[in-house]
C-alpha cells in the first residue's frame, strides 16, 4: 500500500506525530509534553536554541533514545514497538555520528549500507557522490567533518525515504557546498515526494523551503504552525499610546518583541490581527500601522518569544 493511500484510508495526515514526549536527565527536564505534528509531505523546520531538545526529539523518532513518557508514530508505525519498520521509512542525518565502520573506504561503506535499504538507488548514489566530490577510495578516518556530513546526506537521500530527519545537516559545510546541498535537496524533493523534518539555526537558508515551523523553548514546543498561519498570526503593530499606558495583561506570553522610538511603540504580537487591534484599542492605544513579517523575521520573533516564557 502506498503511503498516500495509507494516509487517506487511515487518516494519517501526519508523517510524524508524537504524543506527550517527556524526558528528564536526572533532575533536568529536557522535554516536556512535546506533541510534534509533521504534516504529510511538508517541510518542517524545528527551531530552538542549542540545548532546547531538538536533537533529543529526532533521536526519539529514530528510537535511539528512550522517552520517559509518550509515544511517536512514523506513518502510523510506532517508533518503539515497530522500530525497524519505522526506521525503514527514514533517511537520518545525525548531529554527531561515531560508529565502528570508519575504517572502511567511502566505497566500501556505501556498499555496506546499501543492502539495508531495499529501495537503494545505485545510480542516484553515484550521481550524488559525484556532485559532492567525495573521494570514493579514501578511508573514512581521513574524512573531514564536512565530508562526513556529505556522506551522511548521501546515505539518507539515496534510498529515497518518505521521511528525512536532518539534524543540523549544514553544520560543518562551507557556503558553496551548502548552496549545492540545498539545490540537490530541492531537486530531490521535486523528484521524490518527501516529508522533511529538519533542525537548523540557519533559518534564512531554509526560509524558502519551509512550510511548517516548530519552536522549541527549553523543552516545550511553544509554537507549531504552517507558513500561512505564521504569516497571519505574527505581525508588527505600531501604536501610539497615552502616557502611563501599559500593555494589557491578556497579552502576556503573546509579545514576541518590543521596541520603541519616541512616542511610537512597536510590538510583535501573536494573534489574529482584528482581535489584536480590538484589544489594543480598548486599552486606549491607537494602532497606527500593522505590518506582516517575512518568514525569517516571524520565526525569530517566535524564537525570542519562546525565550521569555
Amino acid at each position: 500500500m502506498t503511503i498516500a493511500q495509507t494516509a487517506k484510508s487511515e487518516n494519517y495526515i501526519f508523517a510524524v506525530s508524537s504524543n506527550g514526549l517527556r524526558k528528564n536527565y536526572q533532575s533536568r527536564t529536557v522535554l516536556e509534553e512535546v506533541d510534534i505534528r509533521v504534516p504529510f509531505q511538508s517541510f518542517y523546520v524545528l527551531m530552538g536554541e542549542n540545548g532546547s531538545g531538538k536533537t533529543t526529539i529526532l533521536k526519539m523518532l529514530m528510537n535511539l533514545e528512550r522517552a520517559d513518557n509518550g509515544s511517536v508514530e512514523i506513518f502510523g508505525c510506532d517508533s518503539k514497538f515497530n522500530a525497524a519498520q519505522a526506521r525503514a521509512q527514514i533517511g537520518y542525518v545525525p548531529h554527531l555520528a561515531e560508529h565502528e565502520y570508519q575504517w572502511m573506504t567511502c566505497r566500501q561503506f556505501l556498499k555496506f549500507v546499501s543492502p539495508y535499504y531495499p529501495s537503494w538507488d545505485t545510480d542516484y548514489c553515484g550521481q550524488l557522490a559525484n556532485a559532492f566530490s567525495l573521494q570514493m577510495d579514501t578511508s573514512l578516518t581521513r574524512f573531514s567533518t564536512g565530508e562526513h556530513r556529505r556522506l551522511q546526506l548521501i546515505t539518507a537521500l539515496v534510498h529515497r525515504p518518505p521521511l528525512l530527519l536532518l539534524d543540523e545537516p549544514f553544520e560543518g559545510l562551507d557556503p558553496l557546498i551548502r548552496r549545492k546541498v540545498l539545490r540537490l535537496l530541492t531537486q530531490h524533493l521535486a523528484d521524490t515526494p518527501t516529508t522533511v523534518l529538519i533542525t537548523s539555526n540557519q533559518i534564512h537558508e531554509l526560509e524558502s523551503l519551509a512550510d511548517y515551523i516548530g519552536i522549541l523553548g527549553s523543552g516545550k514546543l511553544v509554537a507549531q504552525m504552517s507558513r500561512e498561519k505564521l504569516h497571519l498570526l505574527v505581525r508588527n503593530y505600531s501604536i501610539e499610546t497615552p502616557q502611563d499606558w501599559s500593555l494589557p495583561e491578556q497579552f502576556s506570553g503573546l509579545v514576541m518583541k518590543y521596541s520603541s522610538l519616541g512616542r511610537e511603540q512597536q510590538f510583535t504580537l501573536l494573534g489574529e490581527e482584528s482581535d489584536v487591534i480590538n484589544r489594543l484599542s480598548q486599552s486606549g492605544a491607537s494602532v497606527k500601522d500593522v505590518q506582516p513579517l517575512s518568514f525569517e523575521d516571524a520565526s525569530f520573533a517566535l524564537l525570542e518569544g519562546a525565550k521569555q516564557i
Binding site: 509531505q41 517541510f43 548552496r179 540545498l182 539545490r183 540537490l184 530541492t186 531537486q187 524533493l189 521535486a190 523528484d191 534564512h204 537558508e205 526560509e207 524558502s208 523551503l209 519551509a210 512550510d211 507558513r227 500561512e228 504569516h231 500601522d289 505590518q291 506582516p292 513579517l293 517575512s294 518568514f295 525569517e296 523575521d297
Partner: protein, 133 residues
C-alpha cells in the same frame, strides 16, 4: 530568465513567483508560446520548495496566462499584459506601493507627485502633465 525572490518580502512566495513571471511577460522576456522552466529547474535555481513553484504554475494556469501540456512542460499562452487594462493594473500596484512608502516616511502625496514629475523631466527632458480630479 532571471526570477528573483526577496526574502524580506512578506508576501507568500508563490505570489512572488507569479509576479516575477508576469513581469517577464510585460518586458517581453517571455512571449506567447515560450516554455517556462520546469518545476524542478526553477525550484532548485531559487532553492524554493517545489510545491510552491507548482502552486504558482497552477495559479498562472487558472489565470489563463500559462498552460500545462502533458509531457512537454508549461507554456505561456497569451500575452495578457499587452492589453491596456492589465498595464493599468500593474501601474496601480506600483503606485500603491509608492504611496505606502511615502506615508511611512511622512512624505505627502503632493510632494511625491512633484518629485516624480521632476525626475521624469531630468531623465527625458520633457515634462509630464498630471491630471488630477
Amino acid at each position: 530568465m532571471a526570477i528573483k525572490l526577496n526574502a524580506a518580502d512578506s508576501r507568500p512566495l508563490y505570489l512572488q513567483i507569479i509576479d516575477e513571471i508576469r513581469r517577464a511577460i510585460i518586458l517581453g522576456t517571455l512571449q506567447e508560446g515560450d516554455s517556462l522552466p520546469s518545476v524542478r529547474e526553477l525550484a532548485s535555481e531559487l532553492v524554493v520548495n517545489p510545491r510552491t513553484v507548482s502552486q504558482a504554475y497552477k495559479e498562472l494556469e487558472i489565470q489563463g496566462i500559462a498552460e500545462v501540456r502533458r509531457g512537454q512542460g508549461t507554456f505561456v499562452t497569451r500575452n495578457v499584459y499587452s492589453s491596456l487594462n492589465d498595464r493599468i493594473a500593474v501601474a496601480k500596484r506600483i503606485a500603491k506601493k509608492a504611496l505606502a512608502d511615502a506615508k511611512s516616511y511622512g512624505v505627502s502625496t503632493e510632494q511625491l507627485l512633484i518629485m516624480i514629475g521632476e525626475l521624469t523631466r531630468e531623465k527625458t527632458g520633457s515634462s509630464i502633465s498630471i491630471k488630477t480630479g
